[in-house]
Symmetry: C2
Subunit: 559 residues, 2 copies
């Protein structure tokens, strides 16, 4: 991208970026949102893996957390530094034709991406390679997305989240979408999907990719539909492949492709409460019915694989028939499509192309686990990537919450990446605040899943924050949280004085009723009575309890 307000993309198209000048607002500095944090790097030879280090007071060690925010302070008109340029150059120079991480992994080669990911996740590079070779994890990293800081998606790693952005024909501009991407990763989104469907679809994507340190996903059929002026029946494989290449050249890291919507599945949706709710799924269903032919994405799947491996783009096999309501959860249409996705997984793997499988949708809690169990079985443990699921239909306006419940659970059960849902779901396009709310809700879900899975180290941040809370280090409590400014603002609404940040209480209970303050007193009394905390509470008190038991045990006999 040149800096004069125009840009040449990789396909040679000349794009006027007329909105590039004054329109590009910089996000406020990151430390205004995440105070007491600094970027540090884990190093391994030439690799530098970013982490965010949160300073903690009271003599406590700082806490390091996974960092998705990317390099800061760059001019969006120029894009981010091209971290992966030398790695890819070397591979191309030696004449590699299948550039997929899976291909290298299966040949026993540990790539820079694998080493980067290994440091980031604190595991061995060999483990990363094995998981990628096995297909149980993917590293989405298009050879042309040189700005990407590699990350891994798989159930033996930290649970990841995705934020969807993108304008529709109805609203929103390019720069707004770039800002939303930056905003989403500031709060911790691990990947971003650009779902733009309006005009400027190519240009919007170019800006996003050049400024994104996280993998970018798209749903190419949307752009294809623009090309055929919205007439689904005019779609065909050539237009699709042409569009894939256009987007591949730009650097899209994973493609959602609805190749599992088969003609024979469509009748299974006839009695559904909400029919087909996936945009891609409905487009393909329309095509199939109009031509009375099998889905061309399915019949020409191997042609698609050829593109994928050349650029190392991962499949995100779309669940075009996912349930859009509690009534439709886990039905025949959904599971028939899942079987087909399992079949396609094997085809992709034959080409060493990386695969994720998309999942629902709307599912009541008791039907969530079956989704993961079946997916693991029929898709041979390819990473599962789910939208929510929403555990009830009746709370539009709060679907970040209805889906956050399902997301936490499905993450625990083994889903590798959770696609966020914002409060605007079902109602309209999310704005910046919605994006933040969605991301933080999903960071909660993913972290809760990491804790429940017993991920080593996941609890460290909880422990540090809880210790700060117990010791009334308010500022530390804020800084260690997902959203320090909101936490601080909520606190300050009732106790704004700076002195209150040292108070041993808050407005919730007031000074006399603060349990934590009283616990301090309890421990002080114990100490005063010569009952030093651990020891005496453990000895003196236990002895007292012993006396009590000897004098008749419990006062009331259990039967």
């Amino acid at each position: 991208m040149s800096s004069n307000g125009d840009t040449i993309d990789r396909t040679g198209q000349h794009l006027a970026v007329t909105t590039a000048g004054g329109d590009v607002r910089a996000l406020r500095p990151i430390d205004e949102d995440l105070p007491a944090s600094r970027k540090v790097f884990l190093e391994d030879g030439d690799l530098r893996v970013p982490m965010r280090e949160i300073a903690v007071s009271g003599g406590e060690p700082p806490v390091r957390v996974y960092d998705t925010s990317g390099p800061q302070g760059h001019d969006v008109r120029r894009g981010l530094p091209k971290l992966r340029e030398p790695w890819i150059a070397r591979r191309i120079a030696r004449g590699d034709t299948n550039l997929s991480q899976m291909h290298y992994a299966r040949r026993g080669e540990i790539t820079e991406e694998m080493r980067f990911v290994a440091l980031r996740e604190q595991v061995s590079p060999e483990f990363v390679r094995d998981e990628v070779a096995r297909g149980r994890a993917v590293i989405p990293a298009n050879r042309n997305h040189l700005e990407c800081e590699p990350m891994i998606i798989g159930r033996n790693f930290l649970v990841k989240i995705n934020a969807n952005i993108g304008n529709s024909a109805v609203t929103s501009s390019i720069t707004e979408e770039v800002e939303k991407m930056q905003w989403a990763i500031r709060w911790g989104s691990d990947t971003v999907m650009d779902l733009s469907t309006g005009p400027n679809i190519h240009q919007t994507r170019e800006w996003i990719i050049r400024n994104s340190p996280v993998p970018i996903g798209t749903v190419p059929i949307y752009q294809c539909l623009e090309k055929v002026k919205g007439r689904a029946e005019d779609l065909n494989t050539d237009i699709f492949i042409e569009t894939l290449i256009e987007q591949a050249e730009q650097g899209v890291d994973y493609f959602t492709i609805h190749a599992g919507v088969l003609l024979r599945h469509i009748p299974l949706t006839a009695k559904r409460t909400t029919g087909i709710v996936s945009r891609g799924g409905s487009i393909l269903a329309k095509w199939c019915l109009a031509h009375h032919k099998e889905n061309f994405l399915y019949t020409d799947f191997e042609r698609i694989c050829e593109v994928m491996k050349k650029y190392d783009i991962a499949f995100s096999l779309g669940d075009g028939l996912r349930p859009g309501s509690i009534a439709d959860a886990n039905d025949a249409a959904q599971f028939a499509e899942l079987d087909t996705l399992g079949e396609l997984t094997e085809v992709a793997w034959k080409h060493d192309v990386q695969v994720m499988i998309e999942g629902p949708g709307h599912v009541p809690m008791h039907k969530i686990k079956e989704n993961v169990d079946r997916q693991m079985e029929v898709c041979h443990e390819a990473p599962f990537y789910t939208l929510g699921p929403l555990v009830t239909d009746i709370a539009p306006g709060y679907d970040h919450i209805t889906s956050g419940i399902g997301a936490a659970m499905i993450g625990w059960f083994g889903t590798a990446m959770l696609c966020y849902v914002t409060p605007k779901e079902h109602l309209g396009l999310p704005d910046r605040e919605d994006v933040k709310t969605g991301v933080i809700t999903y960071k909660i879900a993913a972290h809760a899943a990491d804790l429940a899975k017993g991920h080593p180290g996941a609890q460290r941040r909880d422990d540090a924050l809880s210790k700060a809370r117990f010791e009334f280090r308010w500022q530390d409590q804020f800084n260690l949280s997902f959203d320090p400014t909101t936490a601080r603002q909520f606190h300050d609404e009732t106790l704004p004085a700076e002195a209150a940040k040292q108070s041993h209480f808050c407005s919730m209970c007031g000074p006399a009723f603060c349990s934590m303050r009283i616990t301090e007193d309890v421990r002080a009394i114990a100490a005063q009575k010569g009952i030093s905390e651990e020891k005496a509470l453990a000895e003196g008190m236990a002895q007292k309890a012993e006396e009590f038991r000897e004098k008749g045990g419990s006062l009331y006999q259990s039967k």
Copy 2:
């Protein structure tokens, strides 16, 4: 309560209600928050049980939902109509001394409260009586809370939620608290706990109870502590009993009592990350240590039972040692106290006193189920009433969400009532908006649990809303949701025109990409081709699929 601005409460105390006049703001009319709704009544002889009926367009039947909002339009200075007055009068006239619902149930008597609840839950009165007699459900209904519309808490009924309100020494007025109560029940709170700890504690409670159609719970130890000027060590059974009677006379329906915090349990908290986080728990622990004696609430538990049965107040046995952090979840202190609560349950039941058991707190997802399983076992299936639990510690400002996840799950596992957590948890006293957010989050959790438990009829509202969504009946979608005004407002942010309420798309995807609109097309194509929806999609398509399979089955062979 008299209407001249003064009030005489039942204990004979004369209370100047100086703030009664202009200060009392009426909530806006309920139909501004819940449009297209009207109150209807299920009738059984003299009983009239309120339901909310939501009108639906498109020839669809209206949807009836459980209604907690109570009689509308009454002057808060006069309080609500005394629904239960004749029922209680009859029992007192015949000389009953144990007025607990459990006592009647065990004698085989079906009370008006049981009949009311049976209609409300659409089960038989005999089933209600059996569950109450067995101790598996409670109907909190103080003989002096005549304004209360009976409700039931037990795992074989709809999952209930509680909202905490109450001022602290630091902030908030009486009328604000009454408004918060009304606000909480407007959005669906099934009970309300008044946790006031500041001045005017008695008067605030009086106003709340006289205006509350839902059971009111309190934690009497808070007022006791006020009486001994904050010196926990000066507490004793006499002050406690005196306070119980004062509150019992006013009509409190359930008391949280921390009788399970035993001297021998306190050492078990010594190594905890967050010590004792229950206000009541920390007060009792301080008392125990100061005197080096057993908790007087435990040693004098049967004296307390005498008060409870006289008024029919339910125990909510407090978990004073609940974990306040992920690190402390399911630890020895927590489960030791739970065992004691089980022992006390049996004592209470000996007196036919109704019992609920309070539960945590902070618990990671994989440790939630153990809480329910143990509680059911050691507390003999007495209803479990839990706070959250929060599934991670690191999101202050979003703890309605961290806890909503845990609440939905624990509700599914068998918890009967979920105590809400607001976004202000850990940070300050919730304001009105926080109360609403907390209540709606918990309505989501409770409803999700009802769905997952397979509660008959729970899915009806989901189905009606999803059908409206699929048919682009936007207004119905809003009206059937938990928060119609917010849903509508979110929709209107991007498509404000009234015409958009008839649009077959929204701003999220725009017209060309609306999957639901395309599904309509799909079904239209099917019809056009003589493939009438169900039939042909099920026959014509299936036949086509059959042909396809005959021509070689799946394109790619699964291994």
